[in-house]
Amino acid sequence: MRYPAFALAEHLDHGLGDPRDPGRAASFARCVELDSREEFPAEICAELDRLGLPRWYVPTEYGGELRSYEELLHAVRILARRDLTVAIGHGKTYLGAVSAWVGATPEQARRVGAEVLAGSVISLALTEREHGSDLLAGEVSAVPAGDGYRVDGEKWLINNASRGDLVCVLARTEPAGGTRGFSLLLVDKRRLAPGTFRCLPKERTHGVRGADISGIAFTGAEVPAEALLGPAGAGPEIVLKSVQLTRTMCAAMSLGLADQALRLVLDFATAHRLYDRPLVDLPHANRTLTEAYVDLLIGEATSVLTARGIHATPDELSVTSAIAKYLVPTMMDRAIPRLGQVLGARALLTEDHADGLFQKIERDHRIVGIFDGNTLVNLNTLVNQFPGLVRGYRRGVADPGLTDTVDLARPLPDFDRSRLALLSRTGCSVVQQFPVAAAELLDLVEAGVAPPALAVQVETLADLIDGLHERMAAYRPSPRQVPAEAFALAGQYALAFAAAGCLHLWLRNRHRLAGGATGPLWADARWLRACLHRLIGQLRPAGVAGSAPDDDGEDYDRLLPDLRAQHREGRLFSLLPSRLAEAGTPPPDPPSETAGQPDEQPSRTAGAVTQPSEVVR
C-alpha cells in the first residue's frame, strides 16, 4: 500500500538528492560545513523554491497547494532530518504567513499567498529583548498615523528578521496593552522609508548556527492601514490560534532530527565490529537502538494524529498541539544523547565520524524545545484545561471527527479556521475514547486475533489512565504559581494521549497496513506492544514497583529486524512506508496527483543498492 501523505516529503527529498553524496548542494557534508561557517544555506533554500515548496505553505483557498497538514508535517520532518537550519530557514515563511491564514480577511490572505508563491521571505516577530515569551509585555507600538500606523520599537531573536521581505509584527495598539491591546501588522520592509528601520546583527547560536536569528528595530516606520492583519486588538488571539498549527510542525522537526541520529548510529553499529561481531548484534547496543526506534514510532503516532486533527478535530487543538509540542521534543531530547552513547567519543567529534553530523544534530535539536512556547508553556496549557479534560473523560465525550483523525485511509476534511478555539470544549477525544478502544482490543484478544499480552497491557493502561484522571480532578487550580505536581500530571496526560493514540491507530489501520512495506510491524501488533510497553513504564507513578512480567525487553527486541530493514532499504523509521533519497529510485509520482495510484510494493533491488554504503561508512 501507499501512504499518500508522504508524497510531498518524498518529492522534496528526492529533489534535493542523496544527502550522502558530497556533490549535492544539500548533502550532509555541505550542511555541516555551512553550519561550522555559520553561513545561511541560501543555495539549498533556492533549491526548495525551485522544487515548489512555497506552494505548500499557502492554503488552496488562497492560491497554494496546502490542503493537508499531515503532508506538511512529513515535509518538515524530512527537511529537518537533512538540516534543521534549512527546515527553519525556509519554513519560517509559513510561520510568518500563518497569522494571515488564521486571522486575515480572505482578500488579505490571498495577497499574502501571492507573496509566498512569488518567493518572498516572511518572518514572524513576536519576542522582545526585555520580555522573552511574555507577549503581553511587548513594547513595540503601532499608533494610528495618517492613513495607517507608525511603528516604533525593537523585536529581537527573530528568525529571518534580516533576510525577510515582510515581517509580521505583534505591536501594542492600545497604550494600556492587555489581551485586546495588541495587533498584528504585516510590515513590508521593501516599502518602508529609508532610515525608519534597521536590522540587528545575527546572533551567534549553539545550534542552527547558519540560521538568520537576528532582530529588527523600527523608528517611526509608517505602514499603510492594510498592513493590519485581522481586527485591531486581535493579535494575541490570532497568535495563540496560529501556534496550534505551528506547534505540530515543531514535533515534525524533532522526528526528523531523531530519525537521522538513529540512522547515523545504525550506520556505525552495522559497520563497526566488537568482539568479532557487528556492534548491532550486541544486546546492549541494539536495545538502545530499538528504544530510540520505539520513541520515534510513539512520536510519529502522536504527531500524525495531531496533524490530522487540524482538519478533523480542530476544536481540540489547544490540547493536542500542546501535547505534541511538549511530548515529542522532550522524548527526543532524551533519546538523541542516549544514541550518542553508542557512538562513544565519536559522537562528540566534529569531523571524524560521518562529517561530525551527530554532534550537529544534538546541538540543533536542543532549540526545538523552545520554539513556539517552551515545555512549561505547553504543559501549563494542559493544566489550565484539567477541569474540561476530566469532565470529558468521565462522560466519554467523542468528537465526531475522531474517526477521520485515527483512520489514515479516510480523506481529511478541509481545514476550517473558524473551528480553532483557545480552549477545547470537548476535551480530548483520543483519550476519552480510550475505554472504548480498550474494550474493542479485549474482544480481539478473546477472538484470538490480537496477542494476549496486549490484553494485559491495555488493562494496565486503563487503570493508570483512570488513576491519572482522579489525580487531575483532585488538583485545585491555582492561577498564581502552578506547582510541579501539576506539570507532572500534564506530562502524564501527554503520555496517556500517546498510548491511547497508538491503540486507536492500530485498531483502525491494521487491516490495510498489514500488507505493505511496514506490514510485519502491524501484522502481530508488535509495534503497538513495544510502544505501550514504553509508555506504561513512563506512566507508572514513581516508586510503584513491579512492571509487566515480560520486562526483559522482548517487546523491543522483536522490532530489531524491522528497524534494520528500514535502515537498509532507505526508509524513514516509521509505521508507514516511505522512500528516502538514499533508496535511489525517484518517487513514483508528483505529490499533487497521488490519489488513486496503484499500491506500491517494497523493492528489494533498492534495498540491495543501499547496502554497500553501510559498509563504506
Binding site: L136, G178, T179, R180, P236, E237, N380, T381, N384, Q385, P387, G388, R391, A421, L422, L423, R425, P477, S478, P479, R480
Partner: protein, 89 residues
C-alpha cells in the same frame, strides 16, 4: 449542575462569578472588586479563559473562551452573561 435551572439575574450571576474568582485566587469573596479588571485582581489573561468552562457547565450555554478578554471585570461579565442568558429562548 449542567441543565438545572439557575438564577440568571445580574445579581445572581455576579455573586456566582465573584465566588469562582475568589476560589481560584484563594481569597474571600468580599475581596473581589467587581469593577477592577480581572488581571489587576490577579487572574491572568490565559487563566481567565478557564472561567468560560465554568460558565458553560453552570448555565448550559456556549461562550467564547475569550469572553473575559472582551468583558474584563466581574460587572462587565455579569452584564454580558445576563444578556446572553436572557435571550436564550
Amino acid at each position: 449542575m449542567s441543565g438545572t435551572i439557575q438564577d440568571t439575574s445580574v445579581d445572581a450571576i455576579r455573586s456566582w462569578l465573584a465566588g469562582r474568582i475568589a476560589f481560584y485566587l484563594q481569597r474571600s469573596v468580599e475581596e473581589i472588586d467587581h469593577d477592577l479588571p480581572l488581571v489587576e485582581i490577579g487572574l491572568d489573561s490565559v487563566y481567565a479563559m478557564t472561567l468560560s468552562g465554568d460558565v458553560e457547565e453552570r448555565y448550559d450555554i456556549e461562550v467564547e473562551p475569550t469572553m473575559a478578554w472582551d468583558h474584563p471585570t466581574v460587572n462587565a461579565l455579569a452584564g454580558y452573561l445576563h444578556g446572553v442568558l436572557g435571550s436564550r429562548g
